[in-house]
Amino acid sequence: MKNGLALFLGVFATLALSWAGLLLTAHKQLGSLSQFKDPVEETLNPLPLSGLADQGRLVYQDLGCVSCHTQQVRHEGFGADIERKWGQRASYARDYIREKTVLIGHSRLGPDLRNVGVRLGDTASRDEYAEWFYSLLYAPQSKAAGTNMPSYAFLFDVHPTAGRQASYDALKLTSKFAPPAGYEVVPTARARALVAYLQSLKDTYDYPTERSLNTPAEISKEGAH
């Protein structure tokens, strides 16, 4: 090769084609995905994040949770995501349009978090969930013995109760995880936001459109309604 211009044009075309072929095409296909209105219940899905949860998303980004946690449930038969109860169904593209920053992750040093907001099951109350998340963040070993998740104690205030009544949201820690006598552990605003975000992570609505698109053809879904 001697021709500088030909080299330049080739170099240009290489990336231009891949940009147009991959990114623009994908954008054309997915860029205008919208919420789905359930024909029976008349609800819009996915629901947008609450304001506090959206702040929590920023905490999630800032602390680099994505370094160890994915947020994508792979479909049945491809990995054991469903069997591990990381979700009732595989994640769809539409699930993610509610988030300003989509962090599906690339490493599973920790478990998948896409449906961590329903990890304890339907019976647990919202407060029980919050307590579970707070304890997990403050002292991971108290909820997941043997984990290598670091403690996020810096998201909490440890201060003396000084004879006052304990705060309503003080963590109910036991044994070696409990603070010294006369002290209590209270989540900061950042911890509250983060937990609100984690609680919002649940794809419980199954879209009829996506379900049919993502189902292998040979399995008949007749009568599923």
Partner: protein, 486 residues
């Protein structure tokens, strides 16, 4: 490839003199980042098996240290080293001096200030959490402007070349010089400035990450091998006529291969299928390039023992082939199903960046710096230590992490195994990785000490001068005259 008469040597001395300060600045900054990034990487690695280590403070929590380390290595060490090597080689191959070195000096300052601000931003809590684009938005412009001032010099040097022919290394350097700013700018615009919606973000991110590795770091490493092998061995590249084919095929397919990172992800399946198909197509250029390199090396096994640069180039070539094989394997759905999200996918990127690219830059530095400064590497023991730790480290980490990743993936896919048991089973391998990374860090310290001796005028007083009829980096044995020609 290069004539060895006196005129040509005088010309090379002039080119080297023009490139001396920019290259020293870039290499110097690169090595600083290599150590800083390596230290952060070691901290992050230790935190995986000792979670309480430095976890009390938000600045040093794993989720911040790990991306900070990765960014320090990629943008600090990798980019600076690529600038140093790329500018020098472009000037050499274009047979023209590197002009306006002062601008490059300014650009280097801007680039390094930008990276430093970015790393501080990640540690301080402003990470964007997009892989390899974690640095906060406020550094984007600094980095792009600094890059523009650097990249334009590479391209200008190429366009005022005094040579008839354009050599393989120049194609790769020229291409990379265009691809990086384009990838980076599009990544920034489509993810941070005017974010695309939903799962398009991971698609853009995968495209960027794959492009950064495959269209920036790999081309620079290949440019180095295409240059140093014939230069030092004194014979042309074997089957060179296939090199243009390999170039276009490699870069064309790599540009489309990014989607292969999204197998099983909630994106349209054509994206990962296209990526997988592109990775399958890459078999041909990888074989051709391997033929080019190993064919040139065949029959010159003795040279491996006699030249540090050849040794590092050999590691780099093996790293390239291994990373390509792994890339290929990770496009196979059955394999990806098991090892996706494990240490094995990390290994693929690490092999490209460290096994292939970084080792190539070490080799280049051992060749270039004595020629720029006119001094020898003072301690051959430290050189040996660097090569030794690199060989051992790459070998151990490749074998270890491949096995660990496979085990981890098998366990992840067995829902009967509680997640905590996987972490326990992996603890040994996390420790193993810390040891491997620590080993590499020792080699980098040795490299730094030698670099200070050769590059810092105050410290280099005791360093013997280099005579290129007796090349300085061939102190070990069996000196080959050919390396002395430049």
């Amino acid at each position: 490839m290069n004539s060895t008469d006196k005129n040509s040597r005088a010309e090379q001395i002039e080119i080297d003199a023009s490139a001396k300060w920019p290259v020293l600045i870039f290499f110097g900054s690169a090595i600083m980042w290599l150590l800083l990034g390596g230290a952060l990487q070691l901290i992050a690695s230790i935190q995986l098996h000792t979670p309480d280590f430095l976890s009390a403070c938000a600045w040093t929590t794993y989720g911040r240290v790990a991306p900070a380390a990765q960014n320090a290595l990629i943008y600090g060490w990798g980019m600076n080293a690529a600038f140093a090597f790329g500018l020098w080689l472009m000037a050499r191959l274009s047979a023209t001096t590197l002009r306006h070195g002062g601008w490059l000096f300014v650009a280097a300052k801007f680039w390094n200030v930008g990276v430093a601000l970015g790393i501080a931003g990640i540690l301080g809590g402003y990470s964007t959490s997009f892989e390899l684009l974690e640095m906060p938005r406020y550094v984007t412009l600094i980095l792009l402007v600094a890059y523009a001032m650097i990249g334009v010099w590479g391209v200008t040097t190429f366009s005022i070349r005094n040579t008839e022919n354009v050599y393989a290394s120049q194609w790769y350097l020229f291409g990379a010089a265009f691809w990086f700013p384009w990838l980076y700018a599009i990544g920034q615009i489509m993810l941070l400035k005017a974010p695309v919606r939903g799962v398009l973000q991971p698609v853009v991110n995968a495209w960027f990450v794959h492009g950064l590795y495959g269209l920036w770091f790999v081309p620079i490493a290949l440019a180095s091998a295409y240059y140093f092998l014939p230069k030092i061995l004194g014979k042309p590249i074997a089957n060179y006529y296939l090199a243009p084919l390999a170039f276009w095929w490699l870069v064309g397919a790599t540009a489309f291969a990014g989607g292969s990172r999204l197998i099983g992800a909630p994106v349209p399946i054509w994206i990962s299928t296209l990526g997988g198909a592109a990775n399958f197509l890459l078999v041909v250029p990888v074989v051709v390039i391997a033929l080019n390199f190993f064919g040139t090396l065949a029959g010159n096994i003795a040279a491996i023992g006699s030249s540090i640069t050849i040794r590092f180039t050999l590691i780099s070539m093996i790293g390239f082939v291994l990373a390509s094989v792994l890339n290929f394997a990770l496009s196979i759905r059955g394999f990806a199903q098991i090892v996706q999200f494990t240490l094995l996918t990390d290994l693929r990127d690490w092999l490209i960046f460290y096994g292939c690219f970084s080792t190539a830059m070490f080799g280049a530095a051992y060749f270039i710096l004595p020629r720029l400064t006119g001094l020898q590497w003072r301690s051959s023991a430290l050189v040996t230590a660097h090569v030794g730790t690199a060989v051992l480290g790459v070998l151990l980490l490749t074998v270890g992490l491949a096995y660990a990743g496979w085990t981890q993936g098998k366990m992840l896919n067995d829902a009967a195994i509680p997640f905590g048991d996987i972490t326990k089973a992996m603890t040994f391998w996390f420790t193993f990785r810390s040891v491997g990374l620590g080993l590499l860090l020792i080699g980098h310290v040795a490299f730094l000490i030698n670099f200070i001796w050769i590059a810092c005028p105050i410290n280099s007083r005791g360093t013997p001068s280099a005579q290129f009829s007796n090349p300085p980096d061939l102190k070990l044995s069996n000196e080959s005259v050919t390396e002395g020609h430049a």
